[in-house]
C-alpha cells in the first residue's frame, strides 16, 4: 500500500505516516515492545510540568523556521504544519493579514465562492449560544468574477497553502467555478462545500450519496492541478456513506465537519433569533460531535482508502487539535475560534510542537488515528525513552 506520507525517522527507526497500515486492526492492543518499529508510542513521561505555549515566546518579526516535525504531506499538499483556517471564518486573506502571520500558518481556506455574487441573508445573521455560535450568513460572497479580479491578487502573495472553498446550487456551477480556479497556480486546492445547511437548494449534494458522487466526479474531471478537498456535512444519518461517495467520486482529501443545523428561539418574542430561522452551529459546543464523525470516517473510509482528513469543529487549543489527530485527522482547521483570537492557529501549531517534545514523538503524523480502543490495561500509554 502506498502512503501519501511515509517517512522513516532516523533516530527512532519509526515508520510514520498519517495513514498507517499497521493500524488496520482497530481492536484492543496488547502492550507492545517500545523498541519495535511497529510501535507508535503515545509518548514518554516527563518530570517537568507542561505549560501552554505562549505566543509571546515566538519572535514574529524574524523569518520563521518551520519545525520539521510538524510538516505534513496532506494528499499531495505540502503543509508546514497541520493547522489550517476554516472556510468562512477568515475572509479571503487581507482581512486578517495584519493579525495572523501567514508565513507560520499551515494553510488557509477562503470563504465559499459561488458562480454568481450573493448578498447573503438579512440580519440577524449570528447568535452566540452556550459554548458556540449559530450562523446563517447565507453564503454571502463576491462571486467568481470579482473573486478573480479583486481577491486573487492578494492570494497570489500569501506565503501559505491556500484552498479556495467552492459552493454552488448545480453541478455545472461547481464545475465552472472549480475549472476557473484550477487555472491559477496560487490555489493549491479546491474545497467543495457541499454541506452548507443555510441555503436550501445547496443541501442535497451533501446529504445524498448519489448526487455527491456525481458532483465530486464532475469537478475532479476538470482539475488538472489543484487538489480536490470535499467538505462533509454532519447533518446526515450515516456520514461514512457520504464520505465513501466523495472518495468514489475522486476526493483526494476529506474535510469535516461543516456546521450542524440548529435553532435558537427568543422566549420573550417567541421568534427565532436568526432571520433565516435556522443556522449552522459551530464552536466548542460541537467538538465531541465532530470528533465522533472524524473518527467514524477515518475508520470506515479514509484509512482503508488512504485519504487524509482535515478535522475541524470547535478547536480552541493544541489539546483539542491532538484529539482530532488521534481520532484520525491528518490536519486540523480552526474556525470560530479565529473570531476570538485570529492568532490561534499559530499558538496551536506551537502547542503541538511542545506536545511532541513532551511525549518524545518524532513527528505529528505519529498521532493520526492513534485513538486507543482496547481495554485500558492493554493499551495503557507506555513510557518510551528515545535512545
Amino acid at each position: 500500500m502506498a502512503y501519501a506520507f511515509t517517512r522513516v525517522n532516523a533516530s527512532t527507526g519509526y515508520v510514520i505516516g498519517w495513514n498507517s497500515a499497521r493500524r488496520d486492526q482497530a481492536g484492543p492492543r496488547k502492550k507492545v515492545d517500545n523498541s519495535s518499529p511497529e510501535t507508535v508510542t503515545p509518548g514518554r513521561a516527563l518530570t517537568a510540568p507542561l505549560r501552554p505555549v505562549m505566543l509571546a515566546v515566538m519572535d514574529v518579526s524574524s523569518d520563521p523556521t518551520p519545525d520539521p516535525r510538524l510538516r505534513v504531506n496532506l494528499g499531495g499538499l505540502d503543509l508546514r504544519n497541520p493547522v489550517l483556517t476554516a472556510s468562512g471564518t477568515c475572509g479571503y486573506g487581507p482581512e486578517l493579514a495584519d493579525l495572523l502571520d501567514y508565513r507560520r500558518l499551515g494553510g488557509f481556506t477562503t470563504k465559499s465562492v459561488t458562480l454568481e455574487e450573493r448578498p447573503g441573508n438579512d440580519p440577524q445573521r449570528v447568535v452566540e449560544v452556550r459554548a458556540g455560535l449559530l450562523n446563517a450568513i447565507g453564503l454571502a460572497n463576491v462571486g467568481l468574477q470579482r473573486f478573480l479580479v479583486e481577491k486573487l491578487p492578494f492570494i497570489r502573495t500569501m506565503p501559505t497553502v491556500v484552498l479556495v472553498n467552492v459552493a454552488g446550487q448545480r453541478v455545472e456551477d461547481y464545475v465552472a467555478v472549480a475549472a476557473a480556479l484550477d487555472e491559477h497556480a496560487c490555489i493549491a486546492g479546491i474545497e467543495l462545500n457541499v454541506s452548507c445547511p443555510n441555503v436550501a437548494d445547496g443541501l442535497s449534494f451533501g446529504t445524498n450519496p448519489v448526487r455527491l458522487r456525481q458532483v465530486v466526479a464532475a469537478v475532479r474531471k476538470e482539475l488538472r492541478r489543484a487538489k480536490l478537498v470535499v467538505k462533509l456535512s454532519p447533518n446526515v444519518t450515516d456520514i461514512a456513506e457520504l464520505a465513501r461517495a466523495a472518495v468514489d467520486g475522486g476526493a483526494q482529501i476529506l474535510s469535516l465537519v461543516n456546521t450542524y443545523v440548529g435553532l435558537s428561539i427568543d422566549p420573550d418574542t417567541w421568534r427565532p433569533r436568526l432571520a433565516n430561522v435556522t443556522g449552522g452551529l459551530s464552536g466548542p459546543a460541537i467538538k465531541p460531535l465532530a470528533l465522533y464523525n472524524v473518527h467514524r470516517v477515518y475508520r470506515e473510509v479514509a484509512r482503508p482508502a488512504g485519504i487524509p482528513i482535515i478535522g475541524m469543529g470547535g478547536i480552541q487549543n493544541a489539546a483539542d487539535a491532538v484529539e482530532f489527530l488521534l481520532a484520525g485527522a491528518a490536519a486540523v482547521a480552526v474556525g470560530t475560534t479565529l473570531f476570538v483570537d485570529p492568532t490561534a492557529p499559530l499558538k496551536i501549531a506551537a502547542g503541538l510542537a511542545e506536545y511532541l517534545t513532551a511525549r518524545g514523538l518524532p513527528h505529528v503524523a505519529a498521532l493520526t488515528g492513534q485513538l486507543q480502543l482496547g481495554a485500558a490495561e492493554n493499551c495503557t500509554p507506555t513510557a518510551h525513552v528515545p535512545s
Binding site: A45, E95, V126, I137, E150, V340, D341, T343, A358
Partner: protein
C-alpha cells in the same frame, strides 16, 4: 469601483493583554475601565475594541504535572470555558499617554449581560485581552466648522474620546448634547450646574484639555432639559444665528435615537455622522454578521450590505439606507 475592505488603508490592529489600572463605577449599571498597554497602534475616536470577557487563558486547559507512574492529564478541558465565548465590542472612550509612557485606554461599559457583568468585576491589577483598534472613526471637519456631539446613554463613550481629540486639534465651537432616560444612567461626572432650559453650560468633567458647553437631557426630567436629545438639538438650533448653525453633527446611541437624529438633522440641513451598533461576532471583518444597508448606485437594488465593524461603525447619515426615510 466601490470601496472594499481589502482596498482601504488600515492601521495595523493588534491582540494584546492590557493591565487593568482601575475599574470604577460611574453611575448605575456603568463602570469605567482604565487600561494600560505598553504599545498600541494609532487610533481615532469612533473606533472600538473587542474585549475578551473572561480570563485570558480560559481556553487553555490547565495541564497537570507529570508523575513518575503515569502521564499528565488535562484538567477537564470541556469545563474550562463557561463564560462568553466571543469577544464583546466597546468603543474607545478615551486614550492618553501616562507618565510612564504607557498607553492608557478608557472604556465605559454598561452591564447588560454575562460579558459586561464579568467586566464589572475586574479589579486593578487584572489582565484583560483586547483586540483593536477596530473599524473607522469619525471624520473630523476643519477647525472652523461648528460641531455638535449627540450621545444617548451608552452612546456617550466614543464622544468623550472625540472631545479630547477636538480640543487637541484646536476646535472651539463644540457643543455636547448628552441624554439618557434618567439621571443615574448618564455615565458622566458632573462639576457644575446643569441648566434645565436647554442652555449649554460647563457642567461636566472632560478628558484632556477639552471643556465644551453641554446640554443634558433626560426623558423623565430628573436632570437638565426634560425630553430627548433631539429636543436638545432644537434648543441649540434656536439659540444660534443662521451664520453659526452650519454644524456637523456626530451622534452615537441607540438605533431609535440615531434615526431621530438623522431625521432632525436632515430637516435642518445639517451634515451628520452616525456611529452605529450592530450585532458583532468578530469585529475583524470575517464573520459577516454586522451588516447594514448602505446606498450604492452601482447595485441594481441601489444598496448593498456593508460591514459595520470595518466600513463603520461611523457612517455619514446619507450613506445609510435605513436611517434616511
Amino acid at each position: 469601483m466601490r470601496t472594499m475592505i481589502a482596498e482601504r488603508k488600515r492601521e495595523k490592529r493588534c491582540v494584546v493583554d492590557a493591565l487593568v489600572v482601575a475599574c470604577t463605577r460611574v453611575c448605575r449599571e456603568h463602570v469605567a475601565l482604565e487600561l494600560s498597554i505598553r504599545e498600541f497602534p494609532a487610533s481615532e475616536p469612533g473606533q472600538f475594541l473587542e474585549l475578551l470577557c473572561r480570563a485570558t487563558n480560559a481556553a487553555e486547559p490547565a495541564l497537570r504535572a507529570w508523575t513518575d507512574d503515569g502521564f499528565p492529564s488535562l484538567v477537564n478541558s470541556e469545563l474550562s470555558t463557561q463564560q462568553p465565548f466571543l469577544r464583546r465590542p466597546f468603543s474607545i472612550a478615551d486614550r492618553w499617554s501616562a507618565a510612564d509612557d504607557t498607553v492608557r485606554l478608557g472604556v465605559i461599559s454598561r452591564t447588560v449581560g454575562a460579558g459586561t457583568r464579568w467586566l464589572e468585576g475586574l479589579k486593578s491589577g487584572d489582565t484583560l485581552s483586547l483586540t483593536g483598534p477596530l473599524g473607522r472613526g469619525f471624520r473630523i471637519p476643519s477647525r472652523e466648522t461648528p460641531v455638535v456631539l449627540i450621545g444617548g446613554g451608552v452612546g456617550l463613550p466614543p464622544l468623550l474620546y472625540l472631545t479630547r481629540r477636538l480640543a487637541e486639534l484646536g476646535h472651539r465651537d463644540v457643543t455636547a448634547i448628552f441624554g439618557a432616560t434618567t439621571r443615574d444612567l448618564l455615565p458622566l461626572r458632573f462639576t457644575g450646574d446643569v441648566s434645565c432650559d436647554g442652555a449649554p453650560a460647563a457642567c461636566i468633567e472632560w478628558p484632556g484639555t477639552a471643556s465644551f458647553p453641554t446640554i443634558i437631557t433626560t426623558d423623565d426630567g430628573t436632570l437638565g432639559l426634560r425630553g430627548r436629545v433631539t429636543d436638545g438639538l432644537s434648543a441649540w438650533h434656536a439659540r444660534r444665528s443662521a451664520a453659526t448653525r452650519n454644524a456637523v453633527v456626530m451622534a452615537c446611541g441607540p438605533d431609535a435615537m440615531l434615526r431621530a437624529v438623522a431625521r432632525v438633522t436632515r430637516e435642518r440641513g445639517l451634515d451628520c455622522q452616525l456611529c452605529i451598533e450592530r450585532n458583532m461576532g468578530c469585529g475583524l471583518g470575517t464573520c459577516l454578521s454586522c451588516v447594514v444597508r448602505v446606498r450604492d448606485a452601482a447595485q441594481p437594488a441601489g444598496w448593498r450590505w456593508a460591514l459595520a465593524c470595518s466600513e463603520g461603525p461611523v457612517f455619514a447619515r446619507d450613506e445609510l439606507l435605513d436611517y434616511s426615510a
